[in-house]
Amino acid sequence: MDVVVQLQRQLTDHTASLFHEGFLNEQFNQLQQLQDESNPDFVVEVVSLFFEDSERLLNELAKALEQQAVDYKKVDAHVHQLKGSSSSIGAQRVQAVCIPFRNFCEEQNIEGCLKCLQQVKHEYSLVKNKLETLFKLEQQLIAAGGSFPTL
């Protein structure tokens, strides 16, 4: 039982830190609220969707920005998508970086774009790690037979 309590505490702390450090916002809460018996893996599902989508987008972005003649429209569209999906799961730091990214796109500033891409990648990997940790903790908790702490 100790393990469960400990895990629960860990999970709570981790989640709190995620919100506290601004990786996530209330949107994520909403997601979590949407999760119920009928959709037990809803959050994980959505978040992994997000991961897939984001990775695809980031790859395409990197590819697009490597081109000799950068198609800013395309880049902009990708960033827009990324922004949309990140805001949907509440990954607000990723979303925040997307805003200057789009501005650079509008200005057609390749350096700014590249810089932003790096930032986005960075933020994305951070949030990915954090979320994966979160899910791992949750899984452990479930494996240990505990229930989710009330948020």
Binding site: Q27, F42, V46, L49, A77
Partner: protein, 1257 residues
């Protein structure tokens, strides 16, 4: 900066200096320096100015950019200026030089030619003289010779002494004759072979003439005749000596009369020293003539002596030597004369250089021990001659040109310049050189002087021109540079303005974008507060607190709406609607509303709209109403007593109609304003004619505190209030008028505060509104004149009463006025008692009515069968005590004689209303009386009278007409309360606003009508007796509520037969219901809202149960989230990836339905098949705006297009990441019904979907 400028100058002056006009270099530089001096303080002074200007708004970099920009322009100006100046300098310099050159060089050349001629001439003359002298001397000599020969031939071989003497005598005579004939001769000598000498000598100084002869005794012809020629030549020296050394020979001199030659004195021996030069044989050694320059003792000038031998004709031997001596004195004299006339120096020298004659008076001879000697020219005492001779010697040494001719100019001799010319006189044995030295000054002096003066004048002139030119350039370029500076400033100003505008635009845009975000929470707050207020378990204190919060939040929402409206207008996002609406009705509604809201009963609100005002206009009714709501609320705020009049008239009418139309005292001012605004009106009219627009004029006239004329313009600025202290007393933000003005301007109108006679403010505005498309207005007004109405206006407000009575008068209705109870009773008594007395053939004189009234009463008496209508203001009753009941009883007496229309206040107590109804006084009208209401009253009375007449023949039916009428009027009023309060921001009702928040800003009108219709629906539920027509009308939400009202009214009016007066009592509860309908409506919308929330609270999970929703979203994450969200609420979600799929699936569904394959949708078992057939395949579509392949806008357009055929309308909700209202507008433009922003807000989505689907249900 300054250094750079200095460099510039240096460069330019260096550039200048090599120009040919070297003397101009320095002044030029000075001028340039001065210019630079001008320029630099100027620069210094302008720069900080620029700083001052730009510092405020623009960032520092910009300013720096601007300054450098300015500086560079300064430099360019400066360089241009310098270049122009340099060019000018060069030009002027060239001009000067050319002028100088031409004037000088040509003059000099011609002068030189002349001078050369002159010098030649000058020299020629003494030389000619010299030549003459020589010639004459030689001539004389020759003559003497010939004569001597003749004489010798005559006395050939004188043998005797006597013969010899005779010969000598003859010779003497002949010689004298010659001598006398030539005055210029100095001496003639004859030296005989034997040594005898005869000579005549003329002393020019003493003017004496002498005869000189040697002692005859010592000579004999024979003695010396042996001398042959050879001996003579070989022993020249000894012979010479024999003569000179012949000391023993005695010379005699005897003076002669110079004219006659007669001896006048005794012959005296003369000392040898005094002897004149006598030519002897030695002078003619080879027997030819010889020339000789000698020095005479008697005169200081050299003498020229010529000697010729006299040959013996026979033996060819020399018998005598004839010598002639001429003084060169005269040549010198001539020279002197010439020089005196022409200045300069002339001298003659022998070839050896001895001076023969000079123009100067210096002695030509030097006295040495050897006696006087000739001087060399180089040793002359005259310095000029000396120097000239020296120069010649130096210059030519002995290499004189072949002919010895020298012409030299500008020889510097002792500091002065001279011309030196020499000529060579080639005489045999006596070559001579003539030299003339003329100072340059003499010939060229004037010329030089002139040339110098010319140069000076030219230079000074050119300097002046240069200076003036520079100044001109400076002035000119100053203007240019000023212009440039201004232009630069202008550019930077424009830039700054652009930026400022952009930033202000950003602000507006931001605010416009924020509208959604701001209004939504406010709506939630208000909605929740309404729920809370409805809650029963609140204590009184809590209730009051919540009410307070409710009020505050409404106020906040109002403020928010104001700001957002303003920003919307400013950011140009406000799009005015073009819908047909009844302007008069809107205004009436407004007036009704304000009369309800107005607390102060001292202020009457009067609506005075002229009859020519078109009934229907096209425009944005909500905005028009907002304009007037703001104006009226403003007026109400500042008016404590008096009246507020809203006047309206139409521009189309000509002024004659106008004058008739306004019998009120504003006629004058109206004319004045007409003049004032005529011009714009005129050109507006032209514009209006084109697109069927009309100009509608309005005035809002109040008797409030007024606005200071200086603030008339500024009150329309945002956040501006005429008196800042009013914020404390009246509150408000000062946005109202600003919004009004922007809206008015947007509608192509203008608003102004106009001068007014009395206290208060008069706002005048005009609007450009389109006339309705069909254009024809039905002005089928009932002709009230034929009904013989007599209207007794027993009304409280003076102005309203006056206007009403005037209007009634105009349409042919007779009016009487009473402002208080006593007056009314008096008139009533007069009216009806008098009528009686008329019947009694007597008029009661004791009645103390005024003459005016009397006249009226008399007129009324003349009327045949008049119908009396008493419009009675409840306010005339004494409501403070119970007297009113008695008053009513008193009035009851007249019920049969006149129709009563009761003007009730919205807060009139129910007791009075009940009492009135009890007395069957059902024609009750809410207070502000305006034309439409009056017309209703009149129509009602007409119908009633008709009914009364019918009643006599037919029997009664159930529903009273009055009841309907009453109800209509009341619904009318309250309805407008609801509708107009939405935008008026004054009515404390959040329901419509909050709903509006969910909807659009642009389609506000629609937004207004929707909640209203919803409101009606709720009313429908509670008013079960209501005619089905009404609810049906309500269901057709697309229709204008006015229309609904009218229709329902008409619908009821169609059944007038069923109306009986008796039955009126039975519908009393209905009336009651209708009456509180106003309240209900006020609260119904919030309640509706509340229901929405509460229902959600009750079954939150399944609020969307049974709805089929298509979700078009490309983002998988969002798609998933939204799907789950919707499914959680029980909706069936069909998700598609892009717009194309959405359209396809929709088409396929429709097709599927057409094929009867409804079974595809198993989940919709709950619905019957017929339902499926009737309704669209989806209840709602959530459409992302930005999607690949086909975006949301495109998809919506296609869907809407396809819907045209089948009459369906699937609500489409836009999902967009842009929260900007432009996107919103775009969404709505393509046919979407609402829009949601990403990330999706759960509640918002639910409420939006519910509001859209409910409507469809």
């Amino acid at each position: 900066m300054a250094e750079k400028a200095d460099e510039n100058h240096c460069g330019s002056s260096e550039y200048c200096s090599p120009t040919p006009s070297t003397p101009m270099g320095t002044p030029l530089r000075r001028v340039l320096d001065r210019i630079s001096g001008f320029a630099s303080p100027w620069k210094r002074s302008t720069t900080p100015r620029g700083r001052r200007i730009f510092h405020r708004d623009v960032e520092r970099e910009e300013f720096e950019f601007a300054t450098t920009h300015c500086l560079s322009s300064y430099y360019s100006v400066f360089v241009a200026r310098l270049a122009i100046m340099v060019m000018l300098a060069i030009l002027i310099g060239l001009l000067t030089i050319l002028t100088w050159h031409f004037t000088r060089v040509y003059t000099t050349k011609s002068l030189n030619n002349l001078a050369y001629g002159l010098r030649n001439e000058l020299l020629q003359r003494p030389i000619l003289r010299m030549w003459n002298i020589l010639n004459s001397t030689s001539e004389i000599t020759t003559v003497q010779l010939k004569l001597s020969e003749y004489v010798f031939k005559r006395y050939n071989k004188p043998a005797t002494q006597a013969e010899e003497v005779e010969l000598y005598e003859a010779m003497r005579d002949v010689t004298w004759a010659l001598f006398a004939s030539r005055k210029a001769l100095n001496a003639i000598t004859i030296n005989y072979k034997n040594g005898f000498v005869q000579a005549f000598h003329r002393d020019h100084k003493s003017n004496n003439t002498f005869y000189i002869y040697s002692d005859l005794v010592n000579y004999s012809i024979s003695a010396s005749g042996s001398n042959d020629m050879n001996m003579m030549s070989s022993h020249q020296g000894s012979n010479d000596q024999s003569i000179h050394g012949n000391v023993s020979a005695i010379w005699y001199r005897e003076p002669l009369d110079p004219l006659t030659g007669v001896k006048i004195g005794k012959a005296k021996p003369i000392p040898p020293d005094d002897l004149i030069h006598i030519a002897g044989l030695p002078q003619v050694p080879d027997g030819v003539a010889s020339w000789h320059v000698a020095v005479s003792k008697s005169i200081d000038s050299p003498v020229l002596s010529a000697a010729l031998p006299v040959w013996d004709p026979s033996n060819k031997s020399i018998v005598a030597v004839v010598g002639v001596t001429t003084a060169l004195y005269s040549v010198g004299q001539l020279m002197k004369e010439l020089v005196e006339a022409h200045s300069g120096h002339i001298y003659l020298t022998s070839q050896e250089g001895y001076l023969l004659a000079t123009s100067s008076s210096t002695p030509l001879l030097t006295n040495s021990t050897m006696g006087p000697n000739l001087t060399m020219a180089i040793d002359s005492e005259d310095p000029v001659i000396k120097m000239g001779a020296r120069w010649l010697q130096r210059a030519f040494r002995n290499n004189f040109p072949p002919n010895y001719e020298v012409h030299e100019e500008n020889i510097n001799l002792g500091g002065d310049q001279y011309y030196i010319d020499s000529f060579f006189l080639k005489l045999k044995r006596l070559p001579m050189v003539g030299v003339i030295i003329i100072p340059r000054k003499y010939i060229m002096g004037k010329v030089d002087e002139r040339a110098f003066k010319t140069v000076v004048i030219l230079i000074s002139a050119s300097l002046c021109i240069l200076f003036i030119g520079c100044i001109c350039i400076l002035i000119l370029t100053n203007g240019v540079s000023k212009e440039m500076k201004l232009r630069a400033e202008l550019i930077s100003h424009l830039d700054a303005r652009r930026r400022a505008e952009a930033s202000s635009n950003y602000k507006s845009q931001f605010l416009a974008n924020m509208s959604h975000e701001l209004r939504t929470p406010m709506a939630a707050v208000i909605g929740l507060l309404d729920i809370l207020i409805c809650d029963d378990c609140l204590t009184n204190e809590q209730y009051s607190t919540v009410t307070q919060i409710r009020k505050c939040s409404t106020a906040l929402l109002r403020l928010l709406n104001n700001i957002l409206d303003l920003s919307k207008v400013e950011s140009g996002k406000l799009v005015l609607e073009e819908t047909e609406f009844d302007l008069g009705r809107e205004l009436e509604g407004l007036v009704d509303m304000f009369s309800v809201q107005r607390i102060n009963h001292n202020v009457e609100t009067v609506l005075d709209i002229s009859d020519d005002m078109p009934k229907l206009v096209r425009g944005d009714s909500a905005r028009v109403v907002q304009i007037f709501a703001n104006l009226i609320s403003n007026s109400i705020k500042f008016t404590t007593s008096g009246h507020i009049i809203i006047r309206g008239w139409c521009e189309i009418s000509n002024s004659s109609v106008d004058a008739e139309k306004f019998p009120f005292d504003q006629k004058k001012s109206r004319c004045a304003h007409k003049m004032k605004w005529k011009q714009q009106g005129n050109h507006m009219k032209k514009a209006c004619k084109k697109d069927n627009r009309m100009i509608l004029w309005f005035e809002v006239d109040d008797t409030g505190c007024g606005i200071d004329p200086s603030k008339w313009e500024s009150v329309f600025e945002s956040f501006e209030q005429a008196d800042p202290s009013t914020t404390r007393t009246h509150g408000g933000t000062g946005l109202g008028l600003c919004i009004v003005r922007t809206l008015v301007n947007k509608m192509g109108g203008e608003i102004k505060v106009v001068k007014k006679d009395g206290p208060g403010t008069l706002m005048r505005l005009y609007l450009l509104l389109r006339a309705p498309v069909d254009g024809i207005e039905q002005n089928c007004q009932v002709d009230f004149a034929k009904h013989n109405f007599v209207v007794l206006l027993a009304l409280h407000g003076r102005v309203g009463r006056l206007i009403m009575s005037q209007w009634l008068h105009k349409i042919g209705v007779f009016t009487l006025e009473a402002s208080e109870w006593n007056e009314l009773t008096q008139i009533l008594q007069e009216l009806f008692c008098a009528r009686k007395s008329v019947h009694d053939n007597g008029f009661d004189a004791q009645c103390s009515v005024s003459e005016h009234l009397k006249a009226k009463l008399l007129k009324i008496k003349d009327m045949a069968n008049p119908v009396f209508i008493i419009v009675f203001d409840i306010g005339l009753l004494n409501l403070s005590t119970d007297i009113w009941k008695e008053q009513l009883n008193f009035l009851n007496n007249y019920f049969g004689k006149a129709k009563f229309a009761w003007m009730v206040y919205h807060d009139t107590s129910n007791a009075i209303k009940m009492e009135l109804r009890r007395k069957a006084n059902v024609l009750m009208v809410n207070k502000p009386l305006y034309k439409a209401k009056m017309i209703h009253i009149l129509e009602a009375v007409i119908k009633e009278t008709n009914l009364e007449q019918q009643k006599k023949s037919s029997n009664a039916l159930r529903i009273t007409k009055e009841g309907d009428q009453h109800e209509c009027l009341e619904i009318d009023a309250t309805h407008f309360d609801t509708a107009s309060s939405d935008d008026s921001d004054l009515f404390e009702m959040g329901g419509p606003n909050s709903v509006k928040g969910f909807h659009t800003g642009e389609k506000q009108r629609e937004g207004i009508t929707k909640p209203c219709s919803l409101g009606y629906k709720t009313i429908n539920n509670c008013l079960e007796e209501f005619t089905p027509v009404y609810s049906k009308e309500n269901d057709s939400t697309k229709r204008d509520p006015c229309q609904i009202r009218l229709n329902s009214h008409d619908a009821k009016d169609e059944e007038p037969k069923c109306c009986t007066k008796e039955a009126s009592f039975s519908i009393e509860p209905q009336c009651e219901n209708a009456e509180c309908e106003g309240r209900n409506l006020v609260s119904s919308c919030p309640t509706q809202q509340g229901n929405l929330y509460s229902s959600k609270a009750v079954n939150e999970q399944k609020s969307l149960e049974g709805l089929r929703i298509m979700l078009a979203e490309d983002n998988p994450v969002l798609q998933r989230v939204a799907t789950i969200m919707l499914e959680k609420m029980g909706a069936v979600v069909i998700a598609v990836g892009d717009g194309l799929q959405a359209v396809d699936s929709l088409n396929c569904m429709i097709n599927a339905e057409d094929c009867g394959r409804e079974s595809l949708f198993e989940e919709r078992k709950t619905r019957s098949q017929t339902e499926i057939k009737d309704s669209p395949p989806y209840d709602l579509i959530l459409m992302d705006c930005q999607m690949p392949k086909m975006d949301g806008y495109e998809a919506t357009k296609i869907i809407r297009k396809s819907e045209v055929g089948n009459g369906l309308h699937i609500p489409i909700v836009a999902l967009t990441a842009h929260a900007m209202s432009s996107d919103e507008a775009k969404c709505l433009e393509v046919g979407m019904d609402a829009y949601l922003t990403k990330p999706i807000d759960y509640k918002m989505m639910v409420s939006t979907i519910l509001s859209l689907t409910k409507r469809m249900a």
